[in-house]
Symmetry: C2
Subunit: 296 residues, 2 copies
């Protein structure tokens, strides 16, 4: 199948590689140029999103934020200008579900279908094709693209209509941020109250407090392993979308708001590129204390 892939950064690059390894012909475009490894593997570098859309049947996007998706789709020489009836546009970026619904309508006007299909699992999941892919859009388009999703991820779920893939991803990132915050409060509390936080983490692991975050990010906090992983700045962007959508909808997210403030405090200390488990540093600074030095 002829596919297109626009946005070949830390995520898009290995994802496009997986699709090509699956035997598909790839038309590629990236703001920062197409990596040599992909052209060497037979990928065709294009000059514009329009050109990608002209050649490809299914066009994937993996770019940072809502305005980037809008630009790739609808600016001069954008995807829209290269569309013909029957193509599918698949946005795998994490962006606003409200904007997503508007984009889907504009694409549908060209007799094309649109899927929002954000992922979780990070660059490691992208490399190993173990991403979780949360999809919103028409079932017909989902069924058509599913074999391609399965080249990139291990869990692929159609959540509902357009936008609901993005809503699911935001819900995911709310839980992840708040579970990090929970583990951080508990470990700082325990350590300051005189208990060994590594032993506390170990004791909590098997019971109701157990979570992937306690396992992975709890260990990062104790080992002070704050190289990313998932960067504070990106998680902050996602919570910003969640909080602004929540405001529009009239939903109160008190702990998401606090978690965002703690991310803001990390950024104030130069931590935009730290791993998101470094949220613990903001709580430590509030307690004038540091977990440090404990390993598991």
């Amino acid at each position: 199948m002829k596919i297109g892939f626009i946005g070949l950064g830390i995520m898009g690059r290995p994802m496009a590689g997986r699709l090509m390894a699956g035997g598909h012909i790839a038309y590629l475009m990236s703001r920062s140029g197409v990596p040599h490894e992909l052209t060497a593997a037979g990928g065709i570098a294009c000059d514009s999103p329009k050109e990608v859309a002209h050649h490809a049947e299914i066009i994937f996007l993996m770019v940072p934020d809502t305005p980037d998706v809008e630009k790739v789709l609808f600016a001069e020489d954008g995807v829209e200008q290269g569309l013909a009836g029957g193509k599918v546009v698949v946005d795998m970026s994490t962006i606003s579900p409200v904007a997503t619904r508007a984009f889907a309508r504009r694409i549908a006007a060209h007799n094309c279908e649109y899927l929002d299909a954000p992922v979780s699992g990070g660059d490691v999941g992208a490399k190993n094709a173990t991403l979780t892919i949360m999809v919103g859009g028409p079932e017909s388009a989902f069924n058509r693209v599913k074999p391609l999703f399965e080249l990139m991820g291990k869990s692929v779920t159609l959540i509902g209509a357009n936008g609901s893939g993005q809503v699911c991803k935001l819900a995911n990132n709310i839980v992840v941020a708040l579970n990090i915050e929970a583990v951080a409060e508990a470990l700082v509390f325990a350590a300051k109250a005189g208990a060994d936080p590594a032993k506390v983490r170990q004791a909590l692991m098997g019971g109701f407090a157990g979570s992937r975050i306690l396992e992975v990010h709890g260990e990062r906090m104790l080992k002070r392993a704050f190289e990313p992983g998932f960067r504070v700045g990106l998680h902050q962007k996602d919570l910003n979308i969640a909080l602004s959508v929540a405001r529009e909808l009239g939903v109160s997210l008190p702990n998401t708001a606090t978690a965002q403030e703690l991310f803001n405090a990390c950024v104030a200390r130069g931590g935009a590129r730290w791993d998101h488990s470094s949220m613990v540093r903001a709580l430590e600074s509030l307690a004038d204390f540091e977990l440090g030095g404990h390993s598991t």
Copy 2:
């Protein structure tokens, strides 16, 4: 071995039963009388904590709160008055770690040892002997009591000195409360943004948002299964201890404080005996919305 067990409520009753089934002679006492099933199984009902302590070598306590433990230990006809050198007092209640350290010192003055050994796993864990037991106190006492703990629980950990069992339990209940709050924010957000919360929960389960709470309490929220389980009123008591210890230590627990406020809102609506997963109701009322009707 001759053991004592004081406090035979929803937790203490099956725990004492497990110790007796392990072949130990049990001296029993409870504010509300000794259940017939335990005397029928050979348990000896006593009139006071003093009498229990006089006969038993290891004396277990399982009562609601800090003042209850203090009364059982040190009031007229309390445990202290029945002690002789070489006995061990094991408090399995969830109470203040600060008070615990003071109680341990008073017991040590009688040449006895003290363990704080709170549990998680609820009445189901007590019945099935699958409790998680978090222990603080001298290693010598821990080793002596360990075979008895293993009759009641599947995970038994010595965290550190007296008080650290309680600190670990409070850390556990902080994480549990905040993970419940996280799942509640995410599901209310997703549902109000138009995504099916049951599908969202399913999609989140395998990834970094995965937790025991998403699994068990997430399902309770969707099925509106708010019979306890673990009651709001008890979780509220534990967070109250955590927040007041944190205040003394100079630790800031912003999301624990918010979770406690949401529990307070449940209690205001008559929910002290609802399951703690009902925290979602407080968030729903803030959004003038109800998840309802969704099953998995």
